[in-house]
Symmetry: C2
Subunit: 211 residues, 2 copies
DNA sequence: CGGCATTTGTAACCATTGTTACTGAGTACT
DNA sequence: AGTACTCAGTAACAATGGTTACAAATGCCG
């Protein structure tokens, strides 16, 4: 575990802190598609991603979803920190996008490290910074942009996260992520295909050029 | 200044920290309607509100606006902290909603206090917590709710912030805050009037019962 | 009071998104 | 091959919100 920590967090944390994390953290592997947390769950630990990616979503009472952002290696979830601090319940849902390796750190340590390690403080603040900005960008997207543009952004982000030009999702799944309906997404995807931006296939979409 | 600090932050910070704030902070009064910060501005200090309220907005390239939330006394702006830490430009626009009194604290002190004062750390984390949740709620509102419900939420929030049952805004101003159009807002307000929830007048709206 | 600017009310129309319903294509299983 | 199931394409329609245009009301100021 210590080696994986060093690979992913060595540039961020000093030796002492890395060792502490290795001591109290528990290593976990999560398969793609696994729901790691739902709204209302109590938060017991804070995840430090080693590899893979986790999809963070918002959900309303009716179970409608909206994709917020992805966590990648070297990142953590500010929402979780948020909840740890306040002893409140989770405001988000987290699902593994790929097979994911991570280290869970118990909540109690957070405060201690925040007091003792400058690098940890910076990391925590940096995380808040990133996440707040990401939520703001989603907000921009939902508030100011039309569905065709949001879909384009979505596809671009998928390509970035998956590091491949093929997106393995059904139209229905995309519709859930964007909080839209399958028919609407099919319609817009068809337009993108006619523009030559993508190629549609059953269960996957080949990205040609998203301009 | 020290007295006002104690009144508003005495329950949060210890004597030492209050004194430090009083030493390095500068007292400011801002008239209602004054734009305190625009998107792209560099952030030089962090505001601690004494009285009044500040409206925090998001803005896109075309100048379209969206109300995020209000800051009240005893609160600060996480967005600002965000920017201070990262030395980045402001992501938001801030306009005084009422006449507002506040203390500006230079950025440099933030990090020092975060290391030295547990109460300051908690305050900062608490602020992040609150703001992140507020942005999430706005996102919920924009993503999951229709305009009539959003308008209702807006009116409720206005009543809460202004502590009065009369809202002094034109329909156009409300439309800007919700990123909608005047005609749509007039239409929906009329419906609310017909339901007996509000009374419409020129330049102000009297709230009867928002259920 | 009379004129002017601002604000509000209303109607007609359009665009986007969502809904329903049905069809056919692709896949999996037997 | 036959059956069943999921996924995608499409059309018709509804609902919401945005736009344009104009009239009426309100309040301000000389």
């Amino acid at each position: 575990m210590i080696q994986e920590l060093k690979d992913n967090y060595g540039h961020l944390f000093e030796e002492d802190l890395l060792n502490e994390i290795a001591q109290v953290g528990t290593y976990k592997e999560v398969p793609a598609g696994f729901t790691m947390m739902s709204i209302g769950d109590y938060v017991r630990g804070m995840p430090l991603l080693i590899s893979g990616a986790i999809k963070i979503m918002r959900e309303d009472k009716e179970g409608d979803e909206l994709l917020l952002y992805y966590l990648e290696s070297g990142e953590t979830c500010s929402m979780t920190m948020n909840c740890c601090m306040g002893q409140t319940k989770s405001e988000i849902k987290a699902v593994a996008e790929h097979d994911t390796k991570l280290i869970m750190v118990p909540v109690q340590k957070m405060e201690e490290w925040t007091a003792n390690y400058k690098t940890w403080r910076n990391f925590v603040f940096q995380s808040y910074h990133t996440r707040l900005n990401e939520v703001l960008h989603i907000l921009d997207s939902v508030a100011f942009e039309k569905m065709d543009q949001r879909l384009l952004n979505y596809l671009k982000e998928k390509v970035r996260i998956n590091k491949t030009m093929t997106i393995h999702n059904t139209h229905q799944e995309i519709a859930y992520d964007l909080h839209s309906s399958r028919v609407v997404i099919s319609r817009l995807l068809k337009k993108l295909e006619q523009l030559g931006s993508i190629e549609l296939h059953r269960n996957h979409i080949k990205i040609i050029n998203l301009a």
